[in-house]
Amino acid sequence: MKKLINDPQDVVEETLQGFAAAHADLVEVSLDPAFVRRAGGAVAGKVGLVSGGGSGHEPLHAGFVGRGMLDAAVPGAVFTSPTPDQVAPAFEAADSGAGVLAIVKNYTGDVLNFETAVELAEAEDRRVLSVVVNDDVAVEDSLYTAGRRGVAGTLAVEKIAGAAAERGDDLDAVADVARRVVANVRSMGVALSACTVPHVGRPSFDLADDEIEIGIGIHGEPGRHKVPMASADEITDQLLAPVVEDLSLADGEDVLLFVNGIGGTPLSELYVVYRRARSVLEAQGVRVTRSLVGSYVTSLEMQGASVTVLRLDPELTTLWDAPVHTAALRW
């Protein structure tokens, strides 16, 4: 294992310290309990947005704290959901009195810890609603799994709900918008290599030189199946098809196409994937009216990519376009 880290135990704290120093204009960082909040604190009258989860997915979530997106982010240990005693103070920091929306990726750990934090917050008469993101079509949402996972689509939920909160929507309305994004966003990912959790010291799974994992999550878990290495176009087709099918995309619909790098993949390869995904969508009559290409929801240094499609309507498009000023996303 070669990483630019010091003691594996200190990775999250030192990352936060660096992040705080580099972005002092945008964020304030609490180290114990660990959470990141917007510089200047909760915005009067605005619904507060809080998200969080295990570390190792940077820039998610701390990189999305700022105007037009999150009010606070709560990083757990690497790939480990944060604890209620981190989440509850983040709720407090984000609440100007207009209530808080918690954006939770659908993992048992995240759901349970946020659930407990919501109970703590309610005991203090804070109003918190939760939205659970589950965009990963690799996992069947059925009796046989813990339900679909939340992956790169989380970015779209945070961006669009953030814009709704910023324009002054009340808590129920912001939650509604967030749920509308959740209902219309789907993703699927591939790993070309595993990643190594610092304190584990060895790769999260074994993969031969000519194999890839299709249907991976973002916690170093292997995918739904190993398949032989293939061309970018073939792999992209395998990622896109179930996404399009699950969304039942129809001719003439508008979408956001988001090609996300999993951490160790160069930007050039993401554009190769984007090129193919876009041309396949267009051949089906789907109009790609918004795009995002980059490594935003990652698994440490894992090599691979995911393809996310969000069905757009005029309101979601307007909210996507609304200004955002965070460390990782800005326009």
């Binding site: 604890t83 048992t108 349970l112 810890n113």
Partner: protein, 213 residues
């Protein structure tokens, strides 16, 4: 032959030790079918529990006080799925142990409450390849042993043995709850890390009863 706060404190200490010793093993189980943090998570939690108890001016005088400290510390330090699950287990267990000493029925009540806490939070049942597959047979065995008139130490021993068998029984299972469920069929052939750590915890309870006895 009842169990008192000395037993509870020793239970916690032995659990912390054995989690520390098995940290890499638990993490390795979780690396294969999960995300490779279970050993680290529990070790962080029980290390914090030990620190918390060590920092107290006065040691707790009652079993339920010990279990409550374990519960809140695990809840606030572990994270992941196992943090709230074990946290709730110990919290519920604390609620039924507000008495000076535990007889056999008291031990059964403790274990039943713990299992209830886990299922209330996690909505899993036996057969889904989770820690419930260790806790459920442990509770069943404890109930049977107590019904047969065994003393608390033997009730715990029966529970621990059943938990160990239960943990082993998770190996061939296909997970339908927790992170391992994402693997579908590929989750079969590996022991569930949470069931394995449950075995460690109940085993420590037995050893605590023996050493104290």
């Amino acid at each position: 032959m009842t169990l008192d706060v000395t037993w509870a404190l020793l239970w916690v200490r032995l659990t912390a030790e054995s989690v520390r010793a098995a940290k890499d093993e638990l993490t390795e189980l979780d690396r294969v079918i999960g995300d490779g943090d279970h050993g680290e998570n529990l070790d962080r939690g029980f290390t914090a529990v030990s620190a918390k108890l060590g920092a107290l001016e006065e040691q707790p005088a009652r079993i339920d006080e010990v279990l409550k400290i374990v519960a809140t510390t695990l809840m606030s330090k572990v994270g992941g799925a196992s943090g709230p699950l074990y946290g709730t287990a110990f919290l519920r267990a604390a609620k039924v142990t507000g008495i000076p000493e535990l007889d056999s029925q008291g031990v059964v009540a403790l274990l039943e409450a713990a299992l209830e806490g886990i299922t209330a939070r996690g909505h899993a049942e036996a057969g889904q390849k989770t820690m419930v597959d260790a806790w459920q047979p442990a509770v069943d065995a404890a109930e049977a042993a107590a019904g047969a008139g065994d003393d608390p130490e033997r009730v715990l021993a029966a529970a621990a043995r059943a938990a160990a068998d239960g943990a082993r029984s998770t190996t061939p299972m296909v997970a339908t709850k927790g992170r391992a469920s994402y693997l579908g069929e590929r989750s079969a052939g590996h022991e569930d890390p949470g069931a394995a750590s449950t075995r460690l915890i109940l085993d420590a309870a037995v050893r605590a009863a023996e050493e104290r006895g």
